[in-house]
Symmetry: C2
Subunit: 244 residues, 2 copies
């Protein structure tokens, strides 16, 4: 294990930076590693003709509730917020979401599909000697379950959840957790996310940030903190990290 | 002018409560007094076939950016955030928003239409001796311009903007501003909004809250702080306030 002084850009005398400036990578989970829209087919099966609309509104409400609850200082964990988003979306669309359907859809969140580039990307990065972590809004058991199902749990040195500080992204306090848990300085951590607002939150908090833009047409948010590095897939990261 | 001790539920010896428990009303501005979708026809005129989609996405992004910037501790005023939301929405929809069009749409935000029940409702409430204020995310000049255009400026005792504390709704600090500016105790203020998330923020912060639900089909948010009072129009408020 490789340790530099947290808060300092000067490595410990005994440490050897694995890859120049970046020693560790922290990955967003939902939308970045795990495809939140892999629940769409189950939504469509339950509510024919409304699957995509339900999945899209569910995701939007889930994110909105993380922000609103953080602002209100009324934290509930991501499991609760995810369920609340589903209940709202079904009601707004006038869909009959009984307890059985709600339970099946929530269970699907425990076993989301990963994007095809995730496992090979993480394997290549791990082989480079980088420390790898998840840094997510997710509730810890949700994250562990999803990582186990995806077969990537063994590649991760840490699974870091906002649950310990009871505030969601993009609070700067969340991004500070990465350095604390990975025992490396903030300057040697790369943060990887496909959610552009999350990328801008990390940039604003001082992290070197990589935006995974899988869909080329997806526009960046107008928040004033654009990430310097934009890549299409996790498997594009090794070459970029080596160049640091 | 009627004053009770801020922070105390016991009225000053010399004061006379105008309407039982509620002495003052603070109103949300955008969506409650001013119809943010009155810009839709101008959007449609500029971008035929895309007016409603543009106006809807513009509004959603504007609100999302207030939340994200507050969470990031990177406040910009509502004018900037509104313009950023417009720029994003136009780019996402691949619409050619040149500077001329952007300026015209932003100017339209300075002179939004009011809902038909707003002026008569405020006049009736004012005649009851209530102190009336706006409590809004809006930048002060935007609020003053919109209130003047609507002919309601003279009915308002205060126009309170989040700009002085540099954080947006639903932070509890915003709702505390009403008591400070109106010089009444928090318990004697009613807060009025048609944005359900705003209503729940105010309830969470301890205000007596009235949700204006103009569209009956609009579902309440799943945030855990439902407002106790739901009315359809501002003109429904006088009877309810009298019953307190």
């Amino acid at each position: 294990m490789q340790i530099t002084n947290p808060g300092s850009l000067i490595p410990d005398p005994g440490s050897q930076p694995a890859t120049g400036a970046i020693n560790a990578l922290a990955f967003d989970a939902y939308g970045t590693l795990f495809d939140v829209f892999s629940v769409t087919s189950l939504c469509e099966q339950m509510f024919p003709g409304n699957g995509t609309t339900l999945a899209t509104m569910w995701r939007a409400k889930q994110l909105q509730y993380t922000l609103l609850r953080s602002m209100m200082d009324r934290y509930k964990d991501f499991w609760q917020v995810t369920q609340d988003g589903l209940v709202y979306a079904a009601r707004a669309l006038k869909l009959d979401l009984d307890v059985g359907k709600r339970t099946r859809l929530m269970d699907a969140y425990m076993t989301l599909a990963t994007f095809p580039d995730v496992k090979p990307g993480l394997q290549q990065l791990k082989a480079m000697g980088l420390r790898l972590a998840v840094l997510s809004n997710g509730e810890p058991r949700m994250l562990e379950s999803a990582a186990r199902t995806a077969g990537i749990a063994d590649l991760l040195d840490a699974v870091i959840s906002v649950d310990e500080i009871q505030v969601f992204k993009p609070s700067p306090r969340v991004y500070e957790l990465a350095a604390t848990h990975l025992h490396v300085s903030r300057g040697s951590i790369g943060f990887v996310t496909s959610n552009n607002w999350d990328a801008q939150g990390a940039v604003s908090a001082g992290l070197t940030t990589f935006w995974i833009q899988r869909a080329a047409a997806e526009p960046a948010e107008e928040l004033g903190y654009p990430p310097a590095h934009v890549v299409r897939l996790l498997t594009d990261l090794p070459n970029i990290i080596r160049s640091f």
